[in-house]
């Protein structure tokens, strides 16, 4: 189809995304943005602008916690996993709770970058880069926990299939082996997708850098990108294909994580609702993390013209929707226990609600179901401060939910003689907060040294980006 054969501009605009209308209060990009201002605004954060005090504070805080993480892991490797509160029957404790929490957080990043790309949602363009970065760092944090929970982390590679002198091989019928493949594939694909999308922006940084050193570094990182039209063709095609691959991948990863639980016969775990339940929870916590990151960064770096009220509103709506799916599963769990009539399942429901760790159950209901109902209100969804607070509440709530699923269920299996309550130790907490430090440190380095908003994709949204007027998408 040639340019003339396309529908006239008015026709096109009528069918176009309302978010691209500059008069719409819920628009994707502020009206005064041009190619030059986008390039300058984003690349100056990395290249020329003075590093804000906020960055130093956040980075310092991250490094402080990261040092604790390193101390905790060193002590763990020296003494063994006994320094954590785990024992039989509570063999999983904080480690797997943290793993599931972190990997869930990553999922919203892939959802924004891949799933919304396939659906041609223009509002994803300005937040997909750092949502994807969040995914990568969250998966890195997640990967630490099963690794160190092995006890002898230095022989982790025994779980991989390779010819060895022990003549032993992994059992491919085990969800734990599936998990290794799922998480490592997820990390690799996320990294490739993120990097490929960043190549044109790295070239922009190369061309705008003033020092020879920066030019060299960004030059190497951008492979010599020059924006040739056939390069764009390959690039767009590859991004679309990677998005198509990442979308089912993200569902498969948390499904496989939930299989770690459901394939066991433990009451509270052995349930067919787990895969959708886990995926919904993952996306819920992930959107909470996206908002908790983008609200302060938007304010500090003055990105209100690119991360608009529309972005906040849309993320909040998706959070509300996935939160309601989660609320439904909370309701259906006791129902299936009652309907199924298994005394062990009924005992679990009873134990959760009034047992020794009932605080976890009621906290989950409060933080994940009751408080987020505030998102029904437009004023909460579009105001940064209340939205930030709700997001933090959901992040904590989702951690407590994973704790409840793992610890409360493991502590009460079929034999009362083997029951025990989990008590977290100082080192449990040090590793949890330390992993938050690792995440903050990596994220702050990303904000400082890489383009955190996709300049190329924002340019496509500008009203004069398409030949003959209108936007490219």
């Amino acid at each position: 189809m040639t340019v003339e054969e396309r529908a006239p501009i008015e026709e096109r605009q009528r069918h176009a995304d309302r978010g691209l209308d500059p008069n719409n209060p819920l628009r994707v990009v502020a009206p005064s943005t041009t190619f030059e201002t986008v390039s300058e605004q984003i690349s100056s954060i990395v290249l020329t602008r003075k590093v804000p005090l906020f960055w130093w504070c956040a980075f310092g805080f991250g490094v402080f916690l990261l040092i604790w993480f390193i101390i905790a892991i060193t002590w763990l490797l020296a003494k063994g996993v006994g320094i954590w509160g785990i024992e039989i029957p509570n063999a999983w404790g904080f480690a797997i709770t943290n793993f599931v929490w972190w990997i869930g957080i990553g999922h919203a990043g892939t959802l924004i970058s891949a799933f919304l790309l396939l659906l041609r949602q223009t509002w994803r363009n300005s937040i997909n880069r750092f949502a994807e970065a969040m995914t990568i760092f969250a998966v890195m944090c997640a990967g630490m926990f099963p690794l160190f929970h092995l006890g002898r982390a230095w022989i982790f590679y025994w779980i991989l299939p390779y010819p060895n002198t022990m003549t032993a091989q992994p059992n491919f019928r085990s969800p734990l082996v599936w998990d290794v493949f799922a998480v490592s594939t997820y990390f690799t694909i996320s990294l490739l997708f993120w990097y490929l999308g960043m190549v044109p922006d790295l070239a922009t940084l190369r061309d705008r850098a003033t020092s020879r050193f920066k030019k060299g570094v960004y030059g190497i990182m951008s492979f010599g990108w020059r924006g040739a039209s056939h390069h764009w063709k390959y690039h767009q095609s590859a991004c679309l294909l990677l998005a198509g691959l990442a979308t089912p991948l993200v569902l498969s990863v948390h499904t496989v994580v939930s299989f770690d639980f459901t394939i066991a016969i433990l009451p509270g775990w052995h349930s067919t609702i787990f895969p959708p339940y886990f995926v919904a929870g993952a996306i819920y916590s992930g959107f909470a993390m996206v908002l908790a990151l983008c609200i302060p960064i938007r304010a500090v770096y003055g990105l209100h013209n690119l991360i608009t009220v529309r972005h906040l509103n849309n993320c909040a709506k998706l959070m509300l929707a996935t939160g309601l799916v989660l609320a439904y599963t909370y309701a259906i769990e006791p129902f299936t226990s009652w309907y199924g009539g298994s005394e062990f399942e009924l005992a679990l429901v009873h134990n959760r609600a009034v047992g020794p760790q009932a605080w976890a159950y009621w906290l989950v209901i409060l933080l994940n179901v009751v408080i987020p109902q505030a998102l029904w209100f437009y004023k909460v969804r579009t105001r940064p401060v209340p939205l930030f607070l709700v997001s933090c509440v959901v992040l904590v709530g989702m951690w407590v939910e994973r704790y409840m699923i793992i610890v409360v269920s493991l502590g009460r299996d079929f034999l009362p003689s083997s029951w025990a309550n989990f008590v977290a130790t100082f080192w449990d907490n040090a590793t949890l907060y330390g992993s938050v430090g690792l995440f903050i440190t990596l994220f702050m380095l990303f904000v400082r040294y890489l383009p955190m908003i996709s300049m190329a994709e924002v340019r496509e949204l500008l009203p004069f980006s398409r030949p003959g007027g209108g936007t490219e998408k």
Binding site: V3, S39, Q169, L192, L196, R208, R226, A228, S229, S252
Partner: protein, 178 residues
């Protein structure tokens, strides 16, 4: 003058409408070695400058290879190399093999897609003749360029420059590969 070091003739634009119109005029004029450099993808250009896109094929080959690798690895290990007899249940329990089959399919397809794209683009290629033009640094920010390669049969330093100047560019330059 056209000499051995000439790479081609470049015209600079700041507006996608003028760029696409100019590209079409250049094609109509009979030039074949035309390339556009833009700071974001412009779909209309792909209708003028045709590209044989082999990325999907490479990705498909990667996916099939991944699936074949996963299935043969799982079959070999679970049924031949390290059989685990659990109450006489079948060794080739294929439904349990599906998750890893899926993951490796995606992994191989994704890696083929990424590295295939780099290979098709000819990356990494840190040096390119156009980089010697100072204005070309704007090609990744706000300006758009059209370049007619010297290899074009009807390329002529003076006539091509004159023709490009008629298309309303900001400037026209002959680029030399230094």
């Amino acid at each position: 003058m056209t000499d051995a070091s000439t790479y081609g003739m470049v015209a600079e634009f700041d507006d996608p409408t003028a760029l696409v119109e100019a590209a079409r005029r250049i094609k109509q004029e009979g030039y074949r070695h035309l390339e556009a450099y833009t700071p974001y993808p412009i779909e209309d250009l792909h209708e003028i400058i045709h590209v044989n896109n082999r990325v999907p094929l490479i990705c498909l080959i990667g996916g099939l290879l991944g699936a074949a690798t996963a299935w043969s690895m799982e079959y070999y290990i679970a049924a031949i190399d390290y059989p685990i007899n659990v109450g006489g249940r079948p060794l080739y329990s294929w439904p349990a093999f599906i998750p890893i089959l899926f993951e490796l399919t995606v992994l191989f397809a994704g890696c083929f897609c990424f590295f295939g794209t780099l290979a098709l683009c000819g990356f990494p290629r840190p040096h390119f003749p156009l980089f010697s033009l100072p204005q070309f640094a704007e090609a990744t920010s706000s300006r758009m360029f059209l370049c007619i390669d010297k290899a074009d049969p009807i390329y002529d330093s003076e006539l091509t420059a004159k023709f490009l100047n008629e298309l309303g560019p900001i400037g026209v330059w002959e680029v030399h590969d230094e």
